[in-house]
Symmetry: C2
Subunit: 171 residues, 2 copies
């Protein structure tokens, strides 16, 4: 798919077809994450990819809003070092935002939908994914073919108007 079409076709998809993602396509999504730029190229991430239905069902319990993980074809967990430094966490969050967006656009380019969710229950995350004690699961990103309709460019996204958020030359 053309880049612009993929960017405009990306939308939150939370209900998926019961259809697996080809392993090569899944690796491509992961590769998009791996290539993401980061502060001083620190690459503050590991990606744990899950396709096992029983494991996805358990992984969906890490946050009340992560139910979409259970029915996904695959979910990628973004793992990072635990840190008490709020400023550091803010930089890492920016880099994670970049990585998650790159993976979601890569997926959209192959007609694969996605949704991402926060993680609250770190004990559950550790138990399900076997994450070491000095790491945390920051985000879960679920992927799959949309159950409702194929991805197509969205004409009227639910966002503030363009001229409201864009300022030219000065505020």
């Amino acid at each position: 798919m053309e880049t612009w079409d993929a960017i405009t076709a990306r939308r939150n998809v939370r209900v998926f077809q019961d259809r697996p993602i080809d392993p090569a396509d899944l690796d491509r999504i992961l590769e998009a994450g791996r290539r993401t730029p980061s502060s001083r190229n620190s690459q503050p991430w590991d990606f744990v990819v899950t396709t096992d239905r029983a494991r996805l069902t358990e992984l969906a319990k890490v946050w009340q809003g992560a139910g979409h993980v259970a029915g996904s074809a695959a979910t990628i967990g973004v793992v990072t070092a635990a840190s008490d430094d709020a400023r550091h966490r803010e930089f890492v969050a920016f880099d994670h935002g970049q990585a998650v967006m790159a993976m979601m656009i890569a997926a959209a380019g192959m007609g694969i939908g996605s949704a991402h969710g926060w993680v609250v229950d770190q004990d559950q995350a550790r138990q399900v994914l076997g994450i070491p004690d000095d790491r945390v699961l920051s985000w879960v990103v679920s992927f799959g073919y949309p159950a409702d309709r194929a991805l197509q460019p969205v004409k009227q996204p639910k966002r503030k108007p363009f001229e409201e958020v864009v300022h030219r030359e000065q505020w």
Copy 2:
């Protein structure tokens, strides 16, 4: 350009040709930012786009690593509400990472290079862009046609090996 090619062709470009970006292409980059998903669709951003050379030269002074802004064809500043809440800032940083990545991939899809930089001198940012006192300039993202060579898929990105950062089913 195909989505996958744009994702793999994106690289940090800090030296640009003296060639403007077509206004329609620039609006497309901004539209990619506007469409970005965010926590509860809060859309915690305004985008200030600058193409004036004198203003870009001054804007480049917001951080010692933002020199690439001065020679860019256009730079987009990401502005958000000032906040003392570290947890809130962390969420906003994630959303900004998503928005910046979407804009950089949209640009790459049109052969336009990009680099992003942090902002330290908020007084300078306020003076140059006229940002209100209750807002901060979070990031500057410079865009332009690469001076060195056209964007093409990068074969060996400087990143940790795929099998080192990707874990299958469990850590």
